[in-house]
């Protein structure tokens, strides 16, 4: 091998170990709890600021992927802040006597609303007994009879007067089935028609005239009767009011004194009093016969219309015994669950409602405190996001049903008076959602001014491992799991670094950590151990991997059976082992892919078969186009690139994306041009730029392990290995078996920084650098490439000249 080619990495660099010996504890039981998750200083600072900052729009958005413990941390910090805050007031809805369809919102000091509710219930109860009693008194009955008989007497006198006057003129006032009639009398009896006919015409005329006059007089009296009745009713109402007020006043005065310190409540009591005086009859118990019936069956009194309900109090939110500000975490942020809802009850086939059917929403409950919502759930609920924004912007909660807001339903409904809102909303969601909202909703930036960005990982310095151990201890205790020994913690730290995708980082994903702890605890239990050990942790990791490894195993099986063609030994021109990562269902694994290149004389294009067949993504296409740029600039700067090449991922049917195979593709291409065979024992990963520099890629550990598994299955013959970008060495956190194979010399990892290094390793010959005269040394790979391209260029010139001569001949006129 070329001594200039890069040396393989020593085994120690393939995995940054966590030495159990560095931990001073014997089990995690000895470690103190960690209150703040490590690595989240930025987020914690943002939350502190957002929670403490008063003013419009300083609501929070806690962003980051699932599993970082955002909710837990936010709730804990909110609890700390809320503990010292004032308890917000209680809110009630009461009947609005002026505009009944707009129930009135009443504010009471914390904890007083239920008492107010009970007081009003008792008042109604007392009056239900007190008012009927007042109507049973002799005083009332005497007065009532007096009014009634005055009315009757007036009527009787009027009719009797007419009857008397008529009788004096020989005419009787008779009661007919429908009214009255006047008839001439003869000897105190109604005159017979024949008798009347015998009367002198003058007498007949007199009687006619007199009857006409009496009829007019009677008509006048009948017209007066309704007036007299109204007068009697007015007097009766006055009497009712006098009687009621005696009963009502004494009871209400007590309450007025008790609620004197609350002017709004006192004003309401005044209105209640007036209304009770006007509707005293409501307090009379309905008699059996008065109840509405349907086909003779008495119907239950309609609850919504029961007149006394209007004096009751609907306690919307109350904070009896509460300490500090409320924190509400609404799991189902539907429109109604946020702003509250107005329920209806069915009554004889119709839907009715009143103020007592208004139910509080999360905004009511969180008023004066904090509301935590899941951003995605909120956005998934129709109109919930708009409702939240409207509430925050107007600083009041307006309860209206969605159907009403959209004018979809036309049942009788209410427009409750809005409740003033003072709340801090914390949205918990993904980063994408935050950035999308920021970009597309202009109101979002104004309403959610503080973003708490949770980190996915943190620096793994000397103190970090210790901190992580305490995190493990805390979680184990919270979840009531067995304590862990230092070996187990060390193994978990290593796994965390692997999850973070970097040896120098630790993952902050608490969900994954919790799951690992739980599963390790399960295996420790199975093994009958009191303390979880490294073996249990490893068992849990292996089991996790095994559970999700069906597809990986199928792919490997296909390779080993020769269905998927991958060579792991020998040499071949224009063929290289590339590496790809497949991520499915939370697990990622690396798979080797054969990449091949073919070249011929042509017009300078590199044909990306993946792209032509629409199986390649845009980033992959970009990588291939960069190769053309690199080839042309390096080898054919001063003459045309007379090359046609085609590149393909063999046996790839599901599409390729990313540029991490571009270095492998370039190596295949160079091998094809130079006709230099490539060692199939090596696999390559890394992207390349137009200058031939190798750049970092993702999933380096999975890729190496994917190739290692195939090689191991076929038997490690030595000389096998993977070429990776030098920039990815820091990400190496390889499996133990890989590290061991490297230590034993049966496998190797080569870090490279240029395409020349990679190509030299693969071709087993020096790449070669241009000398002072600008020529590549003979026998080097680059020289062979350049020479071949030169040959192509000359062939192209000759071919062009021949074609031109032919064209000339055909143009020349024949003699």
């Amino acid at each position: 091998m070329d001594p200039a080619s890069p040396a393989p990495l020593p085994a120690e660099q393939l995995r940054r170990r966590c030495d159990p010996a560095r931990f001073a504890f014997r089990s995690t039981e000895e470690l103190a709890d960690l209150t703040v998750a490590p690595g989240q200083a930025r987020a914690v600072g943002a939350i502190r600021f957002g929670v403490g900052m008063r003013g419009d729009g300083y609501n929070l958005y806690a962003m980051g992927p699932e599993g970082l413990g955002r909710r837990t941390m936010i709730l804990r910090m909110l609890e700390e802040e809320a503990r010292g805050a004032a308890v917000p007031p209680d809110w009630c809805y009461v009947f609005n006597f002026k505009t009944p369809h707009q129930p009135r919102a009443l504010q009471l000091p914390a904890g007083r609303a239920p008492k107010f509710q009970r007081d009003m219930e008792r008042l109604v109860e007392d009056l239900r007994a007190g008012i009927p009693a007042a109507f049973e008194t002799d005083e009332y009955r005497t007065h009532m009879k007096e009014i009634e008989s005055a009315f009757e007497q007036r009527q009787e006198q009027a009719f009797g007067g007419i009857g008397d006057r008529a009788r004096r003129d020989g005419i009787a006032l008779l009661r007919t089935p429908g009214g009255f009639g006047f008839a001439p009398l003869s000897k105190d009896a109604v005159m017979q028609p024949e008798e009347f006919a015998k009367l002198a015409p003058a007498e007949q005329e007199r009687l006619h005239k007199r009857i006409g006059e009496l009829q007019e007089e009677l008509e006048g009296v009948i017209h007066e009767v309704p007036k007299w009745r109204r007068e009697a009713q007015r007097r009766l109402r006055e009497l009712n009011r006098q009687v009621t007020s005696a009963a009502v006043n004494s009871l209400i005065e007590e309450l007025e004194t008790e609620y004197r310190d609350l002017p709004e409540v006192a004003a309401y009591m005044g209105e209640v009093k007036e209304d009770m005086l006007d509707h005293a009859e409501s307090f009379q118990q309905p008699k059996e016969g008065d109840r509405p019936t349907l086909f003779g069956i008495a119907l239950p009194l309609p609850e919504g219309e029961a007149p006394l309900r209007r004096y009751l109090v609907n306690v919307l939110v109350e904070h009896t015994g509460a300490q500090g500000a409320p924190i509400v975490h609404e799991e189902s942020p539907t429109h109604d669950n946020l702003v509250g809802r107005i329920e209806h009850i069915a009554q004889m086939g119709t839907l009715v409602t009143d103020f007592s059917l208004i139910k509080a929403g999360a905004l009511h409950r969180a008023n004066g405190g904090y509301l935590v919502l899941d951003a995605l759930k909120l956005l998934g609920q129709p109109f919930a996001w708009e409702a939240l924004k409207r509430a925050l912007r107007s600083r009041e909660v307006r309860t209206e049903s969605l159907g009403q807001a959209l004018s979809l339903v036309s049942t009788v409904s209410l427009t409750p008076q809005p409740v003033p809102l003072e709340v801090k909303v914390v949205l918990v969601g993904a980063r994408e959602v935050y950035y999308l909202l920021h970009a597309y909703d202009p109101e979002f930036a104004e309403l959610f001014r503080v973003a708490a960005d949770f980190a996915d990982d943190f620096e793994r310095d000397a103190a970090a491992d210790e901190l992580y151990a305490r995190m493990v201890a805390t979680l184990a205790r919270q979840r009531k799991l067995r304590p862990l020994d230092p070996g187990a913690v060390a193994r978990i730290v290593e796994q965390s670094a692997r999850s973070a995708g970097a040896a120098g980082k630790l993952s902050t994903n608490l969900e994954d950590l919790s799951n690992l702890l739980r599963e390790a605890d399960y295996w420790a239990g199975k093994a009958d151990r009191a303390v979880t050990t490294a073996a249990d942790v490893q068992h849990a990791i292996d089991a996790q991997e095994a559970r999700g490894s069906r597809i990986r195993d199928r792919v490997q099986e296909a390779i080993l059976k020769g269905e998927l063609l991958i060579d792991t030994h020998g040499e071949r021109v224009g063929q290289v082992n590339g590496l790809a990562v497949t991520a499915l269902g939370g697990q990622a694994f690396g798979v080797p892919h054969r990449i091949t290149a073919r070249v011929r004389l042509g017009g300078g294009q590199v044909l990306d078969i993946e792209r032509e067949s629409e199986l390649g993504g845009p980033i992959h296409s970009k990588g291939v186009l960069i190769l053309s740029g690199f080839l042309a600039a390096r080898y054919a700067a001063k003459r045309p690139l007379a090359l046609a090449a085609s590149l393909v991922f063999e046996q790839s049917y599901g599409g390729v994306e990313g540029d991490s195979a571009s270095s492998a593709e370039l190596c295949a291409l160079l091998s094809a041009i130079a006709e230099a065979p490539i060692r199939q024992s090596l696999a390559v990963t890394g992207s390349v730029n137009q200058h031939g520099d190798i750049q970092a890629i993702g999933g380096v550990n999975e890729k190496i392990e994917g190739y290692f598994d195939v090689c191991r299955a076929r038997g490690l013959a030595g000389g096998q290995g993977v070429i990776i970008p030098a920039a990815n060495v820091q990400n190496l956190m390889l499996r133990g078996d890989v590290v061991q194979a490297v230590a034993e010399g049966s496998f190797a990892i080569y870090p490279v920084s240029t395409i020349d290094e990679a190509a030299a390793l693969l071709a087993g010959m020096p790449a070669g650098e241009r000398d002072a005269l600008g020529a590549f040394p003979p026998g080097t790979l680059n020289q062979r490439v350049e020479q071949k391209l030169l040959d192509f260029a000359e062939l192209a010139t000759v071919a062009r000249a021949r074609a031109e001569r032919k064209a000339e001949r055909t143009r020349r006129p024949r003699p």
């Binding site: 008779l174 007919t176 008509e219």
Partner: protein, 190 residues
């Protein structure tokens, strides 16, 4: 005292509570209930007059009246009264009968009340007058006494007056069967 018959005067707009009171009383005493609808012959005579007009009690509208239409109206009222009585008595399973009679209201009612075997001669006849003011009740009582005065032996007439529904309920509980129940509207038609 027990009675075999209770006569209740029925007319246009006899309140159901009065009827119920009569039915309750009959049920309690085991008496037979007789509903009596009285047509006033004076009214018929009046309707026969060529210029007879009726003035609506509520509307004050003036309508021509003839014998045929009056008799139709009276028949309709009688049917309605019978239906009410049947309903009230039927609910309480009290034996009942209904009769339409023509004559002066007081005379017809008193005659029905005094008819054997309702009351033995010389016994006390009770009148339960319902509603209305005290003065019409008093006038009615006068007429009743005068009506019985010609008989031999003249029955003693005892009058009870219930001004309101409450009083009525009280009276029907306290008293054994009176023989005649006259609702308020009838009291005025003397």
């Amino acid at each position: 005292m027990s009675a075999q018959r209770i006569v209740v005067a029925l007319g246009a707009g006899t309140p159901t509570q009065d009827l119920d009171a009569a039915v309750a009383l009959a049920g309690r005493t085991g008496a037979e209930l007789l509903g009596l609808f009285v047509e006033d012959p004076e009214l018929i005579r009046f309707a026969a007059l060529p210029f007879a007009h009726e003035i609506g009690a509520a509307s004050a509208a003036r309508r021509e009246l003839d014998v045929a239409s009056l008799e139709r109206a009276l028949r309709a009222l009688a049917n309605e009264a019978e239906r009410l009585l049947a309903g009230a008595a039927g609910r309480s399973s009290v034996p009942w009968s209904f009769r339409v009679a023509r004559g002066m209201l007081v005379d017809v009612l008193l005659a029905a009340a005094a008819e054997p075997p309702a009351a033995d001669p010389g016994e006390e006849i009770r009148l339960l007058l319902l509603g209305g003011g005290a003065s019409p009740a008093e006038r009615w009582a006068e007429r009743a006494r005068a009506g019985f005065a010609g008989r031999d032996p003249a029955p003693r007439v005892r009058i009870e007056h219930a001004a309101s529904a409450r009083d009525l309920a009280q009276l029907t509980l306290e008293f054994s069967a009176p023989l005649l129940i006259v609702p308020a509207r009838m009291l005025r038609q003397t």
